[in-house]
């Protein structure tokens, strides 16, 4: 039974192969059937396997397919391994994947490259599954780059527009920077532990790195580099907003639910190293905290609805990093799962909206869609509520509350980390409210051209349902201590040690609620009742300047352009003709000019020749005298 694990990734791969080789000859219906079906089946398989794990806590799925490379004592295998952590990811990837595929079946139906789209999507699901199921880091790296490739292909899916191509290349290159760091990290790990098998190194690491903790720090740092690239955290976050050039289902699946959280997975998977390197773990927390604020503030100012969601994604992943940083491993994974659901929901909803107001992206040209698109409206509201973490009823509340609490209470927790997270919560609520108010309330600005059918609405509803109840699988301790989720994960991840007194947790929940409500009120008064004083405040030059800065994502793009891409381009252009080659041509020229000089001496005049001979003779004698 264990050995059937390979089925889960194999199905999407099969789908991909079918579509890539027969895509041109298949009808749209068949294409959709293959694309959706393959992922759906692997979702069932994943659910079954996950269920098994739930029932038998000690069980771990392991299967070795074949030896990949075997040189000396370096022998990584093509082998899969599924434990609790992997199971959660498989669950999210396959389930949400299936729903999004279903959604796409209708969403993309007018697109000429229907089969190419599903092929890429299937390939992505496969790669992502390989990433989370890999039992050694080399295979993980394969999945890691594979998802990067798919993200490249899908961001640039509408390739006629050069801007999309640019966004795609940007995404690939920036993540590749992280990947390179990761690769170097792999080398360090191999030479330290003489293996790349995750289980082996995780068990061996503590002993090995007792002597030289700085090596562990180095490795942890390099791994973090990889994670930052993939998960679009500071300072490598700039690619994600541009990645919205891709179709909405892509943004939902890759750039919200799954791929961008690969960094979280990696860190959680390699937690041993980070526990050995507290400095780096602290760094993670800091980066997370800063990112969530930076991205949140940017989200507050965007016009394009998808960019709002993109920045909010960065910000939410910032929360996850914060959680990882303070050692709240399970909380991070919990928030990952919840976020996956409601953010996927939001992106799909946004996609549907954009479709129905014929490809209008700007929220300021939407509005009053409450009545026009009821289903989308309600599901979207659920998602937003979850994002804004409305207390008690939404999943978002539980996961984010956990993180806030641990940011203070966990062993590595800090007061200021908590306060940043708290401010973040406030901002989150604010931009969530802003978004819905602009889109659904107010006067109708753009006429609704088309309405979604069931295969779009069904996934929305399903996700909406999930993003409410999924929160109850891990209730806070003062809510009757019902925590099956973290218990399940504790087979893989360590417990979160507390430094603060658990009984004080309720205070933080109150404060979190305050933040949320505050944020909502702010947005309400600014965008709904158009409060004069606020408006006036916002028109102060300082705020205008801030607005411009945040709208441009804190000007990171500009920074990188001036200091990295432009110089690079200049250098390459300058040396296009290959300076080294000039050297050789110079040598050639010297010889030819020598030839011309010598040929000129062959004047044809006999007297000159005689002169030459006599001179030669004299030189010869002189030479002989010298020697």
């Amino acid at each position: 039974m264990q050995t059937m694990l390979w089925i889960i990734p194999a199905l999407p791969l099969l789908g991909f192969l079918l579509l890539i080789s027969y895509g041109s000859r298949l009808s749209r219906r068949q294409t959709a059937a293959i694309g959706v079906g393959s992922v759906l089946l692997s979702a069932c398989a994943g659910l079954y396997a996950g269920g098994q794990l739930l029932l038998h806590p000690s069980l771990v799925y392991e299967v070795t397919l074949w030896t990949w490379i075997d040189i000396g004592d370096f022998h990584p295998a093509i082998a899969l391994r599924m434990d609790a952590l992997a199971a959660v990811f498989v669950f999210v990837i396959t389930l949400i994947g299936a729903l999004i595929h279903l959604y796409s079946a209708e969403f993309m139906e007018k697109d000429p490259d229907y089969s190419r789209f599903f092929a890429c999507m299937n390939l992505f699901v496969f790669a992502m599954l390989v990433l989370v199921l890999a039992d050694n880091l080399l295979l993980l790296y394969l999945g890691w780059e594979g998802v990067g490739l798919c993200s490249y292909l899908l961001i640039g899916f509408w390739y006629e527009n050069p801007a999309n191509g640019h966004a795609a290349r940007k995404a690939f290159t920036m993540t590749r920077i992280g990947d390179t760091a990761l690769a170097i990290g792999l080398f360090c790990i191999y030479y330290a532990c003489k293996s790349l098998n995750i289980v082996d190194i995780s068990t061996a690491a503590p002993l090995i790195f007792q002597q030289n903790p700085q090596e562990a720090t180095l490795i942890a740092f390099l791994l973090l580099g990889g994670a930052l690239g993939k998960s679009a955290q500071l300072p490598l976050q700039t690619w994600l907003p541009d990645a919205m050039a891709g179709p909405s289902p892509v943004s939902a699946l890759i750039h919200a639910a799954t791929m961008v959280t690969a960094g979280v997975y990696l860190i959680a998977r390699m937690y041993v190293f980070f526990e050995l390197a507290p400095a780096v773990q602290g760094l993670i927390a800091v980066i997370g905290a800063i990112t969530l604020l930076v991205a949140g503030l940017s989200a507050l100012t965007q016009y394009d609805i998808k960019r709002v969601l993109a920045y909010s994604t960065i910000s939410q992943i910032g929360y996850m990093f914060l959680a990882l940083g303070v050692g709240a491993w399970t909380a991070a994974i919990f928030h990952f799962m919840v976020h996956a659901f409601f953010k996927a929901l939001l992106f799909l909803g946004a996609g549907a909206i954009i479709e129905s107001v014929n490809h209008e992206h700007s929220m300021f040209r939407m509005g009053g869609l409450r009545k026009k698109l009821p289903i989308i409206f309600w599901t979207f509201m659920v998602g937003t509520a979850s994002l804004a973490a409305i207390p008690l009823v939404t999943a978002g509340f539980y996961s984010k509350d956990q993180i806030l609490w641990y940011a203070w209470g966990a062993r590595h927790g800090q007061a200021w980390l908590w306060s940043m997270a708290w401010v973040g919560a406030f901002i989150t609520a604010a931009y969530s409210a802003r978004m819905v108010l602009l889109v659904f309330w107010g006067p109708l600005k753009t006429e609704v051209t088309s309405r979604p059918r069931w295969s779009i609405t069904f996934p929305l509803i399903a996700l909406a349902v999930c993003s409410t109840w999924i929160g109850f699988v891990d209730l806070p301790h003062n809510f009757g201590h019902f925590t099956p989720f973290s218990d399940f994960l504790h087979h893989t991840l360590p417990l979160t040690e507390l430094r603060a007194d658990p009984t004080t947790e309720w205070m933080f929940q109150i404060l979190a609620t305050v933040a949320t409500v505050g944020g909502l009120l702010l947005a309400y008064s600014y965008y709904y009742i158009h409060n004069k004083r606020l408006r006036h405040l916002a028109n102060q030059p300082l705020f205008r300047r801030l607005h411009r800065l945040w709208l441009a994502g804190w000007g990171f793009d500009k920074l990188y352009q001036t200091f990295i891409s432009r110089p690079f381009l200049w250098v390459t252009k300058a040396n296009k003709a290959d300076g080294v080659d000039q050297l050789y041509s110079a040598m050639a020229n010297i010889t030819t000019s020598l030839n011309q000089r010598m040929a000129a001496l062959q004047s044809g005049s006999l007297r000159w020749y005689i002169m030459g001979m006599v001179l030669g003779a004299i030189i010869l004698f002189g030479l002989q005298l010298l020697l």
Partner: protein, 102 residues
């Protein structure tokens, strides 16, 4: 009678030879160039004779006869060529003959 010492004779020969070389280099007229070459050859011949007498061997004189013969042959061909040249160029200025170069 007094016999000239080998050194002096060689010196004379050397002098003749240099005169010949100088002649060949200076003159523009092919005819005189040929003449100067003859002088050089005879200088060599003189040197041989001196050497022969120095070592009391006939070889030197034998060599000189050969040289004379060779010089004669050479001059004959040379003259015929000079005739041709005059025929073609109406002058004996060697500097006219630089059609081929490079």
């Amino acid at each position: 009678m007094t016999t000239a010492s080998i050194d002096n004779v060689l010196l004379l020969a050397g002098l003749l030879f240099t005169i010949g070389v100088a002649g060949v280099m200076m003159r523009k007229n092919i005819f005189f160039m040929l003449l100067s070459v003859e002088i050089m050859l005879n200088a060599a011949g003189l040197a041989f004779i001196a050497a022969g007498s120095h070592w009391g061997q006939p070889d030197g004189q034998v060599m000189f006869i050969f040289i004379l013969a060779m010089a004669a042959a050479e001059v004959s061909i040379g003259l015929s060529l000079i005739l041709q040249i005059y025929h073609l160029h109406k002058s004996l200025d060697i500097d006219n003959l630089k059609e081929m170069n490079g």
